[in-house]
Homo-oligomer: 157 residues x 2
C-alpha cells in the first residue's frame, strides 16, 4: 500500500541520508538544506509504503512571479522507479499550486541526468531553448555557476 502525504520538517534526516545513494552517489546534499523542509513543506510531498519513505518531491511558489511554481527536488528510491510514483508526486504538486494561482511549473536538471530528462519529457514538460546542445538536448551553460550546466523544463498546468 503506497500512501502520499504532505512533507514535514521531520522527514529531513531520513531523506538527506539516502539522497546521494538515490542520485547514483553524486554529491547532492549541499543542494538540499533543511530550509526547504522548514519553509516550503506545504508544496512538498512524500510517498511511503509500510512506514518506509520511497519517494519525495519539494517545490515552492515563486515570490518573484507568483503565477509560477518551481520544483527543486524529486527523488524516487531506485527499487521503486518506473512505477508511477514520480507522476503521482507531480500531480499532487500541480493540484496544490494551481488553486493558489499558478499556471506554470519550472524545474532544472543536469545534462548528465538522462533519467530525469526522459522522465520530465514523458510527463509533458518541454525543454527551453539553450545556448548550445549536448547529445541533442538544449543546455544552458553555467546556469548554476561555472561548469554547472542545466537543462530547463517548463510545463503549463
Amino acid at each position: 500500500m503506497l500512501s502520499l502525504r504532505q512533507l514535514e520538517e521531520s522527514d529531513y534526516p531520513g531523506i538527506i541520508t539516502v539522497l546521494d545513494a538515490w542520485w547514483d552517489e553524486r554529491h547532492m546534499t549541499d543542494m538540499l538544506p533543511r530550509l526547504f523542509f522548514k519553509h516550503f513543506n506545504r508544496t512538498g510531498f512524500v510517498i511511503e509504503t509500510g512506514g518506509t519513505l520511497v519517494a519525495f518531491l519539494i517545490g515552492f511558489i515563486s515570490q518573484t512571479r507568483p503565477s509560477h511554481a518551481y520544483i527543486h527536488f524529486m527523488g524516487v528510491h531506485p527499487e521503486h522507479r518506473r512505477s508511477g510514483l514520480g507522476t503521482r508526486l507531480h500531480k499532487a504538486f500541480f493540484d496544490r499550486v494551481k488553486p493558489r494561482g499558478c499556471d506554470t511549473v519550472h524545474l532544472v536538471t543536469s545534462p548528465q541526468n538522462k533519467k530525469s530528462i526522459a522522465f520530465h519529457s514523458r510527463i509533458g514538460y518541454r525543454i527551453e531553448e539553450g545556448d548550445r546542445t549536448v547529445e541533442g538536448v538544449p543546455v544552458h551553460s553555467g546556469y548554476d555557476g561555472p561548469g554547472e550546466d542545466r537543462v530547463l523544463f517548463t510545463k503549463e498546468i
Copy 2:
C-alpha cells in the same frame, strides 16, 4: 558612493564567481543555485560602488509560516567588511518583509564561521538553544545533514 538596490537575476554570474573567495575558499556555490535569484529576488539586495558589487543578501518569506522570513545568504567583499554594509542589507530586508506581515527573521550559520556568529549577535539576533555547545556556542548537530552542524539565529523585527 555606495548604493543599495534590489537583487536581479542578472547579478547571479557575478556573485557566484566570487562566492567561494568571499567565504575563505570554502565550497559554497552548491548552496546558492540560481533559483534564489530567479524566484526570490524581491527579498534580495545588493550594494555597489562604482559599478562593482561589494555586498549582497538574499532571503525569502516562509511559505509554511508567512509571518516568518529567512535569510539564506549574506556576503560582503573582504575589503569592505566592518563598514556597516551587512547592517544596511539586513535593514533593507526587514523593511521589505515587515510590511508583508513578517515579525520574525531566521538564519543559520556554521559553527566555524566565527565572523558570522559575531556579526549576527552584534546586530541583535539571538542564538536558539541547541543540543550541544561548541566553544560556548549552542549548536544543532547534523541540522543540514550528517556532519553539517548549524548555529540557529532568530530576531524579532
